[in-house]
């Protein structure tokens, strides 16, 4: 059932690329594809976390400022020095994990609806990030992300793509081969039954939100590596985009169904559509409208809920 949706999602990507290649020669060339893959990888990272919480019927709206906060932690703690890079990465991921943990505890233990908990957390992170850094992404330093990180994007086959493949492998293994993955789907499909089967529903939920924070932080690290330095508002584009990637990737927003492979396809589809429209020099208003229509078309193709009968 959900494997079929993965195929649809991949089909959607291929269709968008084909249409692009026909209307705009060279659009689907390897060099173009490679860049789109790199750009899509950021969405892919964020969407990995978003997918995990969506699988249990949740949602993570705190992604923008978790991402941004982690990005700033990375530069301020590494000061651009290679020797401090490992520590900085751990710290940045740790921030993501900590915030995710907070979200998870709020949702699972305090029973705050996910929308509220994560929306509130986004505000909290924004306030903390701005207040603590005084708005300077790297307090009086001109340093860049440490050299090894910036190397992620060099070469004909950038390491970033391997990193994304690694994330893909991790997600797939986690969800399909581990007992944790089994529990995730069980909780997503029927939390009450999962609880009565001895699944630690709260624990699973907390773990997933924590992972979502980690993935947002990972995206922050990748974006800093990509641009050299963080900026304020770095994460803003990724909120709705991560949700869109998840659903275009065939994950059911109601929980319990979906695979990360589809989300990879979904991320690529979205980037391809945007890139194509910009290449066609469609004005901004047209781009927004067509983007919306494409998402609708995809939803009509395979995102429909079961008929009530």
């Amino acid at each position: 059932m959900s494997t079929r949706r993965v195929l649809y999602a991949l089909g959607g990507t291929v269709a968008v690329l084909l249409v692009g290649a026909i209307l705009h020669p060279g659009f689907a060339s390897w060099s173009s594809l490679r860049v789109m893959l790199v750009v899509a990888s950021f969405t892919g990272f964020v969407a990995a976390g978003q997918m995990l919480v969506v699988l249990v019927g949740g949602i993570d709206l705190s992604i923008p400022w978790v991402l941004n906060g982690a990005a700033i932690v990375l530069t301020t703690s590494s000061l651009g020095q290679t020797s401090r890079a490992p520590l900085a990465i751990v710290l940045a991921l740790g921030v993501g994990a900590l915030v995710g943990l907070g979200n998870g505890l709020g949702v699972a233990w305090l029973g705050v609806p996910a929308v509220v908990m994560t929306l509130g957390m986004n505000g909290v992170m924004q306030g903390l990030t701005l207040g603590l850094s005084k708005g300077l992404t790297c307090a009086s330093c001109g340093s860049y992300a440490p050299e090894p990180l910036r190397g992620l994007f060099d070469g004909a086959l950038p390491a970033q793509l391997f990193l994304w493949a690694g994330v893909g492998l991790f997600m797939t293994v986690l969800l399909t081969l581990t007992t944790f993955g089994r529990r995730v789907y069980a909780v997503g499909v029927n939390p009450r039954a999962a609880f009565l089967s001895g699944v630690g529903v709260r624990g699973v939920t907390v773990a997933l939100y924590t992972l979502s924070g980690v993935f947002a932080a990972l995206a922050g690290i990748a974006l800093v590596a990509y641009g050299g330095q963080p900026s304020l508002g770095l994460g803003d584009p990724y909120l709705f985009e991560s949700i869109a990637a998840v659903v275009v990737g065939g994950v059911s927003i109601l929980g319990g169904r979906g695979h990360y492979l589809g989300v990879i396809a979904g991320s690529l589809t979205l980037v391809a559509v945007t890139t194509f429209l910009q290449a066609q020099r469609v004005p901004e208003y047209g781009r927004l409208m067509i983007y919306g229509l494409v998402i609708l078309a995809i939803l009509f193709a395979y995102g429909r809920e079961k008929a009530h009968d």
Binding site: V116, M117, G120, A244, I253, Y285, G292, I295, L296, R304
Partner: protein
């Protein structure tokens, strides 16, 4: 329903608490009570959010969510600001436009069977594009007479509209349609099974949300006196926040639009509280985030306590 009443009253409680806090920080800061100017400006600036929140609460009551309110408000603001100065008749067109946008959402959700959050995520993009098309640069205007009738800065005409909105909801609540909205939110499959025409009701609910967005747009243009194609964006999250603070259950079926109205006013008051308490502006969003979580947490705790009491 008593359960629902209890939940709703959380929204009122939060409102009461913020109102008290507002009075306290205001008077301690300025050494006097708020004047009619303050009340009027609170009223007029809240009105757009109040309307969006009512629309949003209707959708949430059916178990859905409407992210496209931002886009609908933007389109309607753009059209209002560009046309109404030529003829007031355009106000009717704006309301129809909003309703049509909402009905489009409703059609897709109810008959296309696409989850509300996804539908409205897509149409948000479409409506925002449309708004940009109508109004590439901010500007436009609204006739002074319209302004005086809708959001008069000197007399509380806004109260009339707020009152009408409240009465509108109370009437709606006392129609079979109103009962059906709750039924669908409570359990859509069951509601259909007992003869509720779920698709038709949802279509109407989303259309009403569009109408509310259009009304919000009209009031927005009336308070600000001109328009902007991005005007609607902030309403997406603030309307959701209002609904939640107002005690409407996200799963649907529980709560009331009046709670959402209370939530909207409370959120506006929080801005004022933060203003007068002299919080470092860099930390402002931190407190807004905390407020949201704490308000909802209180609601959850109270509901839990109520349940305990009843079971004991």
């Amino acid at each position: 329903m008593r359960e629902a009443l209890r939940r709703v009253s959380i929204g009122y409680l939060v409102l009461a608490a913020t109102a008290v806090a507002y009075l306290v920080v205001y008077t301690s800061r300025l050494g006097r009570f708020p004047t009619s100017f303050d009340y009027l400006s609170i009223l007029n600036t809240t009105l757009p959010l109040v309307f969006v929140a009512i629309g949003q609460s209707l959708v949430v009551l059916t178990g859905g969510i409407d992210l496209s309110v931002g886009g609908m408000v933007s389109v309607c603001v753009a059209v209002t600001a560009t046309t109404v100065s030529s003829s007031v008749f355009w106000l009717v067109v704006v309301l129809a436009l909003g309703t049509a946008c909402g009905a489009l959402n409703g059609l897709i959700v109810a008959y296309g069977r696409i989850a509300p959050i996804l539908t409205t995520l897509a149409t948000l993009s479409i409506f925002t594009g449309l708004a940009l098309r109508v109004m590439p640069v901010p500007g436009g205007s609204i006739p002074q007479e319209v302004r005086l009738v809708l959001t008069n800065p000197a007399t509380p005409t806004g109260l009339i509209w707020l009152g009408l909105a409240v009465v509108g909801w109370l009437v709606l609540r006392r129609t079979r349609f109103g009962m059906r909205v709750y039924a669908i939110g409570s359990d859509e499959a069951s509601a259909r099974a007992v003869g509720v025409p779920a698709a038709a009701v949802k279509l109407k609910v989303y259309a009403l949300s569009g109408l509310c967005s259009a009304l919000a747009a009209v009031f927005y243009v009336s308070t600000t006196t001109s328009g902007d194609a991005n005007a609607g964006n902030p309403f997406i999250l603030t309307s959701i926040a209002s609904v939640v603070v107002g005690g409407v259950a996200f799963a649907g079926g529980r709560g009331s639009a009046l709670g959402a109205v209370a939530g909207a006013v409370a959120l506006t008051l929080v801005i004022d509280i933060l203003f007068f308490s002299g919080i470092d502006p860099l930390y402002q969003s931190l407190f807004q985030g905390l407020f949201l979580v704490v308000a909802v947490l209180l609601g959850t705790v109270a509901a839990l306590a109520a349940r305990r009491r009843r079971q004991a």
